[in-house]
Every structure is written in C-alpha cells, then in structure tokens.
Subunit: 324 residues, 2 copies
C-alpha cells in the first residue's frame, strides 16, 4: 500500500471540479496521483431508484467510521446535467455525516462531457485513493449502460434491490446481476422481501446457465466470480442499521481478494482501458465523420431510397478507409 498524498479538502474539491471539466492541468495531476492510488477499496453501489441506496451508503459510512476507516462518497448521476451540488434528498440524508473530517462527500453529474462520466469517476476515485481515503463509495443512480460503465470502474460492485419495486418480472435483470459482486436486498423488513430474495436466487441460477450471452459494448470479463459463483446475498434494513456490519464485512472480504489477486486486478484494469478506448474511438469517429455525406444519406433513407445499414457502412469507410 502506497503512502497517502497530503491534500486538503479544498484542494481535493478543486481538483475534482477540474477533472469534471476536463481541465488539462487537473487531468495531469490526477494521472500523477494514480501511482499512489493503490490502497483504497473502490466500491460501486448501484440499483434502481427507490431501493434506498443513499440510506444504505450513509449506514455503511457510519459502520466504516466505527471501524476507524475514512470514507469518500461519490454520488454519480449520468442522466443529470447538474453537478457539484448534491441532489436535495441526498443532502438531507448526508447532513449528519458531513461534519465528520473522516468523510468526504461529493456529487458528480454529466456536465456535457460526452460519455466521459465513467472515466471522470475513475480519475476522481484514484485521486481520493491517493489522498488516503480507505473506502470510496461510488453511488450510481439507475441501472443503464452508463451505470454499468461506472460500476466497472469499481473493485467491488454492490447491486441493491428492494421488495415491491413494481410488479414487472423484468425488475430483476440478468444484465445488472452480471456485474454484481455482492447482492443486497434492502428494506428487508417489508412485505415481499423473501420473494425478492428467492427471485434473485433464481435469476442468479439462470445467469449461470446463460452467462456469456449478453454483450456490452467492447466487453471484457471482469469481477471474475463465474468460477466461484457463491455471490453473497445480504438482507439489510439500512434505516435501522440491520445487516450493515455483515455487508461491510462482505465488501472488505471481496476487496481484499481483489488486492491480493493480480489476475483480477489485471482484468479490472483491462475493463477500464477498454471503457476509455471505446470513448476515444467514438469521439475520433465523430471527428472524422463526413457530415455532408451523412446529410445526403439521411435524406435518401428518409425517402426510403436507401437503407440505413448501407449508409452506416459507407460512412464507416470514410472513418476507417481500409475497412471492407
């Protein structure tokens, strides 16, 4: 474990804003700090709205503080154009934590950086790790592709479900289970908690039978728990602190495994590289795109005189001239 770098809260806040804004000096500093970012546990916490993620993160933070560990909380909302300030609800929930010098809280949102939130989150996590925070909780909102990307930045991914989240069978998704290292059923004192646990167990078994069939963009296997698929499934009542110590133990255990397993660390690094590569490739493709040709093709397709697939293949050749 590397020595933490001394950074005041104000310096940290300014550096994070710089990373969010894509400021070159801030990105350079983040890169330099990356070398000192080895010791922290970066924990992604994701799940649908209404599962009580924020309350769970607050409860985990309190438990970590009891164990004398420092905590940084990064709230990430890929769909919100607002940033810097936390969402009102979170602010209220987090207020009692924010007086504690061992806790750092920050929100990040999509400040116009195209698809760049996930790697901004990675850079900010590395900075927080370098500053010596023991746990870095990346709390994401929702369960779409952007959230999956953000979760890939984490060492340990906690997926939060809750009973009674709508009557759709689809509420429990193979896609989100695939990125999970630890499953939580929060609000476990509510009606239907056992049914949710049973549904998750069934989905996990199904997932084992069909794993490898989902394709995310430029996919790479990570969180390689496929071989030893005994994924922890923990019931919590975050508002009452129930199950929180057990959950933090499970996080600690997974995180230690990651730190000690060079192959898992390599896979995690590979996933982060691929995420960044995908974003660079899309940006470069957009830069090289022949916009006049796109306009001509779109006009022809709208009139049903051309097919969008032919259009896309032609435009791809203008980006990558040596494509078949």
């Amino acid at each position: 474990m590397s020595e933490p770098v001394a950074l005041s809260r104000r310096e940290l806040a300014r550096l994070i804003t710089g990373i969010e804004n894509g400021d070159a000096a801030a990105l350079q500093r983040a890169k330099a700090l990356h070398a000192s970012a080895g010791g922290a546990s970066i924990v992604g916490i994701t799940g649908a709205p209404g599962t009580g993620k924020s309350t769970l993160v607050a409860a985990l933070t309190k438990e970590a503080r009891i164990r004398n560990r420092t905590v940084a909380i990064l709230s990430i909302d890929p769909s919100s154009p607002f940033s810097g300030g936390a969402i009102l609800g979170d602010r209220i929930r987090m207020r009692e934590l924010s007086g504690d010098a061992g806790v750092f809280i920050r929100s990040m949102a999509n400040r116009g950086a195209k698809g760049g939130l996930a790697h901004a989150a990675a850079d900010v996590s590395a900075v927080l790790a370098a500053a010596g925070y023991h746990y870095i909780f990346l709390e994401t909102v929702g369960a779409g592709q952007a959230e999956v990307d953000v979760a890939r930045v984490a060492d340990t991914v906690v997926v939060v479900e809750a009973p009674g989240m709508g009557d759709d069978v689809q509420a429990i998704k193979a896609g989100i289970l695939e990125i999970a290292d630890i499953l939580v059923v929060n609000k476990a004192d509510r009606d239907g908690a056992d049914a949710t646990v049973a549904a998750l167990k069934a989905a996990l078994e199904l997932g084992e039978a069909t794993s490898g069939h989902h394709g995310l963009s430029l996919p790479t296997a990570i969180h390689a728990n496929d071989s030893s698929r005994r994924m922890p499934l923990i019931k919590t009542v975050a508002t009452k602190g129930q199950g929180i110590a057990e959950l933090l133990n499970a996080i600690e255990q997974h995180s230690t495994q990651m730190l000690q397993n060079a192959e898992l660390r390599r896979q995690r690094a590979e996933a982060e590289i691929m995420l960044r590569l995908g974003q660079l490739l899309m940006a470069e493709g957009e830069r090289r795109l022949d916009r006049d040709a796109l306009l001509r093709w779109a006009t022809a397709c709208a009139a049903h005189e051309a097919h969008p697939d032919d259009a896309a293949r032609d435009l791809l050749r203008s980006i990558l001239p040596d494509t078949l």
Copy 2:
C-alpha cells in the same frame, strides 16, 4: 404510402427470427422490404418497471382495433438473454389480444448480438411496416442507454411514469424526458398522481433551461420538439381504459406531423444511421484491437505503473494509425 407486402404470420415470424440471429438472407430481405416501409407509425413506449407499460400497450392496441387499425407489438428487453418467447407476465396480459388477426405480438431480447438489438428492432419494425401494420408499438423495458437507442428507432416516443415509484427525486430524469414526444402518467387514479404530474412539468421546464447539455454517444438531435415545446402530458388509467383514446389521438397527431415533415424524417434517419455507425465502429475497433498490447498495458495499469488513459490512447493508435 406504399403498398403493403403480403406476408403470412409464419413468414413474418421466421423473418424476425432470422433478423434476430443476424442471418444474411433475412437481413437482405429486410433491406428489400425497407423500401415499402413508409406508411406505419412506429411508436416507442418506454418507462421504468412498474409503470404499467404492458397494460398501457394492451389498452392502446384495443383502442386502435376499435378504430380499425392493425397493430404489431414488439416487446424489447435489452438486458435479457432470452428471446422469441414473451415474458410470462406479458403473455398473460396479451392473451386476450392474441386471438385477433389484426394484432401481431412478438418479444425480442439480446440474443448475444452485441449492442445490435436497437438496429434489429429497426429492421423488424421496417418489416412489420412493409407487411402493412398501421401501428408498431416498440415496448422497451427500463430506461438505460440501450432503451434510449431503441426509442430513437421510433417515430414517436411515449415515456410512461407512474405515481409512487420510489421516494428518490431522481426517479424523474432529464435524460429520458429529452427523448420523449409524449409523456404519460399512468395509474393516475393513485395517490400522488398530481404530484407526479407537477414534478414532470417542473422537470420539463428545467429541461428547457438546460437542454443541449446532455451528451449521448455520437448524439444527433431528433424529435425536434425543442422549438415548439408544448409536449403532451396525458393522464391514463390503463387498467380502466381511461385516457387511452386521448393518448392514441396524441400519438396519431405526432405521427402525422412526422410523416409530413421531411426535416424531422431526415433527422430520424440520421439518428438511425449514427446508431448503426457507432455499432459498426465499435465492432471494427474490437476486431482490430491488439490483444497482446492490451494485456501488457492492463498488467502495467494494475501495478499502477501506467495510466489507463495512456493505454487507451496507445491502443487507439493501433486501431486508427493516423490518430494524433
């Protein structure tokens, strides 16, 4: 409006399976049918689990049949590895419709085709349009990036909300509102419906103030209702048929606008081309990737001896040699 092509249900079903599987002959046939796909209304219906989307689609279908219009329903679940068969809940809800010769129902899921579900949905929609179905309802599950992509394939996007979907303020997202042409608050007889309507109106006003700040990958403006932002907001109780006629009227009106407005049709075509181009570019990038170099970089990054950003830039040069 082009003449419909005679296709039996069995032919349709086989063709759709072929498209899902990426079968070359089926894709060729879909391309040929694209020229006859001009007359239908392709309507994306999206929203979180529990909002009652399936019931709403069933109610809209009944209303369309009363108006003597044919309907094809395509249920799309980007996160499910299962396909062909509908999810059980849908099956039950759809049963009473499925005896009707004027209704065609089909589920599509992610059958391993990497990120290809959105354009498979586009191809299938074109086939259904060519076969003469008047309304094509694309029902998507959830609200992540994949759902946004699928919704872009539609001419008209209906976003469904419901009261009491969790206590998070984040439940109502600027991101999903941005792709909406029509907003629905379903389950409008429940407590909190007026609060949901008020929250949506507030979010819409915020959206106007900040629009253009979100970036989806390779974005192109579509559904250009920014200039005339009087987006219909309709309250429904799908289980009782309330508000359904009004909703179908709004769909019909928007769809007619799209058919008559060449610029909107061009924008829609452009969005579909860009979607396909992004997928082709990612696939080509993956094909050209130097996997040995990726392994070396990932090992170095895992040891904190290199930064993932440098790794990604180096790998990008191996894909696009003339990149800076």
